[in-house]
Amino acid sequence: MEFTVRACSGHGRVGSLRLASGLEFETPSLLMITRRGLPVVIPPEMLMDLHPDSRACQFTPMHFLEDPLAAVVAKAGGVHKLASLTGFAMVAVARDSLGNEIAGEEASNLGASFETSSGRRIVGLEKYMEVVNACKPDLWVSLPDEVPHWVPEKRNRESVDHTSQWLDHCLSLQHAEHGNRCLGVVVGAGSLEERARSAEQAATRNVAGFSLAGFGLGEDVAQRGFHLEVAIAKLPNDKLRHVCGLGSPEEVLQAVGAGIDLLDSTYPYMLTKECLAMTFPLKMEVPLRNADRDMQPTPDHGVASGFSLAKVNLRSATYGGGRIDETPLVTGCKCYTCKRHTKVYINQLLNSNETLAQTLLEIHNTYHYLEFFKAIRESIKADKFHEFRTWFTSQRVFGMTYDVSESFVA
């Protein structure tokens, strides 16, 4: 595995990551979400062609803890072969916001505590590494003792100690032939001193990179910024940095601005579940629109300049000569959904509770988010990341999404 920093803009950096499998891609990069190895709603055979950058996925080892799936993945020879995703990067992240949240307030020497869909469970080190080794991920996060920022000092210190010990234990249990693929966890939650201590300890280990944990748990945004800064200051520049728990566009920008290279995000899927299509603009050159004016998607080339929350009553659309919206979710978007289907069709699918609606929305939302990450990288290469971030967060007020379910009322 090789990671090389190619360009910088402030603390943000563009890197090129070359995995042992030969797969190469640019960072900062989005890791797409999977469950039990497969995308949640996107047909797996469509994943390769979804977007030029749609090559990297996250998965959680927690799904593979028990038989029969534990035995099945071992027999298949890893998660790539199991899910037929050879040619993809599969990154094992212990915590995932689709069902394996940390339950770290309790102390335990036995292992890390997670809230899963089948209740709270403790995952021990041997078991965790057994699953990691069976899955053969391209990168994997060490077992974290992750706690939220409000825990007492003593518990916080304990989490730093556990995490460091467990990192060593995980490293001792990793299969040698899988090479150096570990992302050592850095915790520290509510204390900047503890955060620095955790980072210092992880920095001395023989790892491929680091995974910053304890975020996305209701912490203050400014505090989060300090924690990212303090941790990253202690980490070597030439190793990968991943963060878990952060996924919205603002969180991504904040993380990238601090020096993060990899993020797994459920943001596209969260929008899909709410019947929302991602429509925010991606190009700084688009002039901001007056928020008072009713904004319509314009036929600009490849740029979404806004959204329309105008509610079109279907009856008026048919009897009153009103507009039926036969435009795609985002005009000019090159995703599968936008090239083939219209808002009115997707609205019909949603109102009829058809699962195809979720599939089409998720394809678009994932594509749009991958374009967002690409725009971030372009801005870093042009040394304009700060401007890009300022521009993006200021136009946020005009709305980020198109509510497909509300646009037509039958």
């Binding site: 039990r36 797996p44 089409l360």
Partner: protein, 402 residues
């Protein structure tokens, strides 16, 4: 070779035969299809979760849409304004819509049939509403499918008595109203539906009446509703014998592969059913041997693909064991099984067409039955039907007393 009628928008060419079975080319306004073929059911303009690309990859030729659901949402007028269901869905191949009548009767509370039409309570506001043959055809004209179905008076196959006769005669009266109301005979093919329950005399009268109307194609309706298999195949045999050679024959609501093979042997060309996708949602996969219950504990250690002779994306990539872990836990599980099941039905369609075309239909039937009944316990009704079809399946059958 073909009957040409002024009210046709299709061409049907029988390319090869084996006794009653035929392999044909059905040229429709939007697509050139090969029969025998299975048509997946799309209800609201989509087959459960599958994208258009996937449907094309699976070789789906004609998809069925339900007029009742489409009329409710998004509505016939919207579809008309947009330019039809093809354009709305962006589906480049063929579509068929049903009349809406069957769904109403089966889905709606207090639906009733009178000479005027089907009366029912609006599902939106409970007000009494009426669907006449004219309404059904007008709605279907707006939806714009390649094939549209006449509104028929359909009764349950288990119904007996004068109601069956009443329904058959009403169906004949209604076909004339449908023909009169059809405003796009050169773009859409109106199929009549043969009714008459399980009564051969009633079926004969209906057949005669519909054939005399010189329609582009015919469906055999009123089956797949709980009648015994023996009665079922006899009705199909009688109807295919009574329908014109040079027009397509569509047996409605048939989806079990065994039923499709038998009906094909007896001379039918088109089939539709929700079965393949519905059974996928319960974790059942269609395979050469029959039905594979993926939820079964034994699947957890079965590392074979669903069907060793299937070349679909699912069978190329995933094992039964993996699918077993997915089906009850992830929506993706039943998505993948749905995909495979549709593939299975389309492969069956291709096998039927090519085996008849290539003069090896009996061998195909024999091989099919041997896989489904490895112990030789082919049901009597299948044997009787194959007798009438003139297909020797004696080698598939081991007498049970032996």
């Amino acid at each position: 070779m073909l009957g040409i009628s002024p009210s046709m928008a299709l061409r049907f060419e029988v390319l090869a035969r084996h006794n009653r079975a035929r392999a044909s080319r059905l040229t429709l306004p939007h697509y050139e299809a090969l029969t025998p073929l299975f048509m997946p059911v799309g209800t609201q303009g989509t087959i459960k979760g599958l994208t258009n690309d996937q449907l094309e990859d699976l070789d789906c030729q004609i998809i069925l849409g339900n007029t009742y659901h489409l009329a409710l949402r998004p509505g016939a007028d919207l579809l008309d304004t947009i330019g039809g269901l093809h354009k709305f869905m962006n589906w480049p191949r063929a579509l068929l819509t049903d009349s809406g009548g069957f769904q109403m009767v089966s889905l709606l509370h207090l639906a009733d049939i009178t000479e005027e039409g089907v009366t029912f309570q609006s599902p939106v506001d409970g007000k009494p509403m009426l669907l006449t043959p004219e309404d059904s055809i007008q709605i279907q004209n707006k939806i714009g499918a390649d094939i549209i179905m006449a509104l028929d008076d359909v009764v349950k196959t288990t119904t007996t008595g004068p109601r069956v006769e009443e329904a058959m005669y009403r169906t004949l009266r209604w076909i004339d109203r449908c023909i009169a109301a059809h405003s796009r005979p050169h773009e859409q093919n109106l199929f009549g539906i043969v009714q008459g329950g399980l009564d051969p005399q009633l079926r004969d009268i209906c057949l005669e009446g519909l054939v005399a109307r010189n329609l582009p194609g015919y469906a055999i309706g009123g089956l797949a509703g709980g009648e015994g298999k023996d009665a079922f195949w006899r009705v199909v045999a009688q109807c295919t014998a009574g329908l014109p050679e040079d027009k397509p024959r569509y047996v409605m609501g048939i989806g079990f592969p065994l039923d499709i093979v038998v009906c094909t042997a007896l001379g039918a060309d088109m089939y539709d059913c929700v079965y393949p996708t519905r059974t996928a949602r319960f974790g059942s996969a269609l395979v050469s041997e029959g039905v594979l219950r993926l939820t079964h504990a034994a699947m957890a250690t079965d590392y074979r693909p669903l069907d060793s002779s299937c070349t679909c994306m699912v069978c190329k990539r995933y094992t039964r064991a993996y699918l077993h872990t997915l089906v009850t836990k992830e929506a993706m599980g039943s998505q993948l099984v749905s995909y495979h099941n549709i593939s299975h039905m389309m492969q069956l369609s291709r096998n039927l067409h090519s085996s008849i075309l290539e003069g090896r239909f009996p061998e195909f039937v024999q091989s099919f039955l041997q896989k489904q009944f490895p112990k030789g316990d082919v049901p009597d009704w299948v044997c009787n039907a194959m007798d009438v079809a003139g297909i020797d399946i004696s080698m598939c059958r081991i007498p049970q007393s032996a």
